[in-house]
């Protein structure tokens, strides 16, 4: 098994942030049809081990590429850029984040849960737009300016957490 193959190569897809997600899903199934442990139930122990390793590796590759943020982080790693835990970000962006958090909190303490859910929908549309914008920035900078691409990923991480917080609030409001 060639562990030096990168995740894109495993699926024979170009190393690119823009990715044909349907093709990725289809190729994932093709590969699993070939290597899945179910196909090696009566094989030798060594073959079983290989099958487990391959199927595991293919799932890891698929889980990384399928979702945009891990895909972006992986693309940076391919260029030897490893993201930091506490990145420096411009104060403007951080101010914005604080404001967005405050907006979300304000929605959460509304007494009328119907109104809160409606406000939350508007909020999520705004967050998603910001996310899409940052994804475009990453794609545009990845080949030209790695520093900018890296910054876009840090910002995406913030926005992603915000989106998750919005989802959690929604689950709370809907009583999941």
């Amino acid at each position: 098994m060639d562990f030096n193959q990168n995740y894109f190569e495993i699926f024979q897809l170009p190393v690119n942030f823009d990715l044909d997600e349907d093709k990725l899903a289809a190729r994932h199934l093709q590969l699993q049809s070939t290597v899945h442990p179910d196909k090696f139930v009566s094989a030798t122990d060594h073959e079983k081990r290989l099958s487990l390793q391959w199927a595991t590796q293919i799932n890891a590759a698929y889980d990384t590429l399928r979702v945009k943020l891990p895909r972006a982080i992986y693309l940076l790693a391919l260029k030897d850029v490893h993201i930091e835990d506490n990145p420096q970000l411009d104060p403007m962006f951080l101010m914005e984040q604080i404001e967005l958090r405050e907006t979300l909190e304000a929605i959460g303490v509304q007494a009328d849960s119907e109104a809160a859910l409606q406000a939350l929908d508007v909020f999520k549309v705004d967050v998603d737009a910001r996310m899409a914008d940052l994804q475009l920035k990453f794609a545009a900078h990845y080949d030209a300016d790695l520093g900018q691409a890296e910054t876009a990923v840090y910002k995406l991480q913030f926005i992603n957490k915000l989106r998750q917080a919005a989802d959690h609030l929604e689950e709370k409001l809907l009583d999941y």
Partner: protein, 623 residues
């Protein structure tokens, strides 16, 4: 008894001969075995003609009884008659306090953490009880199929955690079974429906059994069954309905004292009959008298529905959760599984929630065993051309205990399996040579709110200053959903040895002891068994390599390599004709080693060719 498939020497099995495979639904209330024969999937009856085997085992001074006879003794001999053992699999004594009112057993705490039950035949673990049920089913299987089984697929609730899965595997091992795969029950049901009725698209499987509730969403597309999300409650089922009815009878009768075990059994079994009757009629007369308990009255379906309402709601909440996890708002079809889905209020609630009439064309009691039989038939190699593929997920997040009793998640729930995650740890003391890793399963943030799976003790860490060692621990979950852990120090490459201390399981040592203690084992001539097993193993390796050489030898190997492997096959064949099991095992190992490179080449070639197969490309276009 069925322990392992045994081929007489000189009667080497024709590799193309059909193998005997079966699917087993090891249920809380009833168990079944099914097989595919002549293209037809059917459940197999016992001597009495019944297909459902009550999952009841009675221990007496003179032996064990399984099934209907055991069930009939439950009222007169409640302490020695074990029912609903599935609820105790992989569970500790504290977990069962909630069941105490329902199950009258004398629980004994045991070293491994998993509970034991005190019977006249001594303390038995739930694993041993389940093994008795499995042995009974397998005997049925080998009688119906006229020979020992080559392999079985055993189903487990999708929501079973690692300890419960491991306990099921251990039970199969005690029963001497070759387990091809542990299959999630909803996936099995989807397979039965998918292949029989050609369902496609997003399917919800609502599975309410005697003691467990599962809800799974699967995407079905041309033979690929992809589990998208799964959820449920491993302590919710039809037994809870029975308990509500029993409590209602107690309240109606104004009975104040505690029920004795025999009264409790009687009331629960009466409750079950009442519940079943109310599936077909609107009301039923009730008359119970046991010891000093007496009640006469009427139970209507409306009252029953009220008694069950919050339990059914609980299951609907899990359905909502799973739809949300999957990011879906609707499904194309809903499939009903489990005897408890016969209850009209359950069907109505499911129909109302999903907005479609649920499917129940296949007997909800048998559908799981039938799906498992289909997969067993494929896995054992009877349908080599079949394109079926099952992709399943981890039902509950895996995490590690960190400072302050908090959980750090390492693999999230609904992650596709097999999956592995590497995590790096370091030492906090100079020269520290050992480390304890506590693995838990569940969604909550505190260790105390999750299930403890095991403590892994790493030993043999090379002596270094604090913080210098980099211990990489690999958590691997296989296609059965079972976790294994390995570790190595990254800078030196020294492998740390790992001792697994399962929180609610049996140690390797205990299982070996149980195997030795089992009567079946004693009757066998152990030496002969070892020899026969070695020969079977050798035959399997020779067949596999023969086939592989015929298929890919010329394309991937030099003439010299081919001849080397062929010689290896000849050597093993000669050794396998002898009577020394150790020599045969050694030969198997050597041939395995010699063919490792070839196996890797074949796998790489298969992966390269994965995108060129025509049939598969057609599939790709349509997705």
């Amino acid at each position: 008894m069925a322990l392992l498939q045994i081929t007489e020497p000189g009667q080497a099995q024709d590799p193309h001969q059909r193998k005997r495979a079966a699917g087993i639904d090891l249920g809380t209330t009833n168990s079944l075995i099914a097989s595919v024969r002549g293209g037809v999937t059917e459940t197999l009856p016992g001597h009495d003609g019944a297909h459902l085997l009550p999952s009841v085992v009675r221990y007496t001074a003179s032996g064990t009884v399984v099934g209907v006879d055991a069930m009939n003794a439950a009222q007169q001999d409640p302490l020695n008659t074990i029912v609903s053992v599935k609820r105790m699999m992989g569970r500790g004594i504290d977990d069962l306090k909630g069941l105490g009112e329902q199950l009258p057993y004398e629980y004994v705490a045991a070293d491994g953490g998993m509970v034991r039950l005190q019977t006249v035949a001594g303390a038995v673990s739930p694993v041993e009880v389940s093994a008795e049920i499995l042995k009974n089913l397998v005997q049925r299987g080998s009688e119906s199929l006229a020979g020992e089984l080559d392999g079985v697929v055993i189903t487990v609730p999708a929501y079973f955690d690692d300890a419960q899965r491991q306990a099921t595997r251990d039970a199969a091992r005690l029963a001497g079974l070759n387990v091809l795969r542990l299959l999630n029950e909803p996936t099995a049901a989807a397979v039965a429906y998918g292949l029989d009725t050609g369902l496609e698209g997003m399917i919800a499987v609502y599975d309410l059994g005697g003691g467990t509730f599962d809800i799974s969403l699967l995407r079905l597309n041309k033979g690929v069954f992809e589990v998208v999300a799964t959820g449920g409650d491993s302590a919710l089922g039809g037994d809870d309905f029975d308990r509500r009815i029993a409590e209602w009878m107690v309240a109606q009768a104004g009975y104040q004292s505690d029920l004795n075990p025999s009264q409790l059994r009687t009331l629960l079994s009466k409750a079950r009959t009442l519940k079943e009757t109310l599936s077909d009629q609107d009301s039923v007369a009730v008359q119970v008298a046991v010891d000093d308990f007496e009640f006469t009255g009427e139970l209507t379906r409306d009252i029953l529905n009220e008694l069950m309402a919050d339990l059914i709601d609980q299951s609907m909440k899990a359905c909502r959760r799973v739809l949300r996890d999957a990011g879906e708002s609707s499904v194309a079809n809903v499939v009903l599984v489990g005897g408890s889905t016969r209850v009209p209020a359950v069907r109505d609630a499911v129909a109302a929630f999903f907005g479609i009439t649920p499917l129940a064309d296949i007997d909800p009691d048998r559908v799981v065993a039938m799906g498992a039989a289909v997969q067993a038939n494929i896995l054992v190699g009877n349908k080599p051309e079949d394109e079926m593929l099952l992709l399943d997920v981890l039902p509950l997040s895996l995490g590690l205990e960190t400072v302050g009793g908090l959980v750090e998640k390492i693999i999230g729930r609904n992650t596709a399996i097999p999956v592995a995650r590497a995590q790096e740890f370091t030492t906090y003391k100079d020269g520290q040579s050992a480390m304890l890793i506590h693995v838990v399963q569940g969604e909550r943030e505190l260790v105390s709110d999750c299930r403890s799976l095991a403590r892994f003790e790493l030993r043999g860490i090379p002596a270094m200053v604090a913080g210098a060692a980099r211990i990489e621990v690999l958590f691997q979950v296989d296609a059965d959903g079972l976790l294994s852990v390995s570790a190595a120090e990254a800078t030196t490459g020294i492998k740390a040895s790992i001792e697994v201390l399962p929180s609610y399981g049996l140690s390797e040592h205990e299982i070996t002891d149980m195997l030795k203690a089992s009567i079946d084992y004693a009757r066998e001539d152990i030496d002969l068994r070892t020899l026969t097993e070695a020969k079977v193993d050798a035959g399997r390796v020779i067949d596999a390599l023969d086939n592989a050489l015929a298929a890919d030898g010329e394309a991937l190997l030099s003439a010299a390599d081919i001849s080397m492997l062929q010689q290896g096959i000849q050597t093993l064949k000669t050794v396998a004709e002898g009577a020394d099991p150790q020599a045969i095992n050694k030969g198997v190992e050597m041939l395995g080693k010699a063919s490792e490179d070839f196996a890797a080449l074949r796998m790489d070639a298969a992966v390269r060719e994965a995108f060129t197969g025509q049939q598969i490309d057609a599939l790709a276009e349509e997705i």
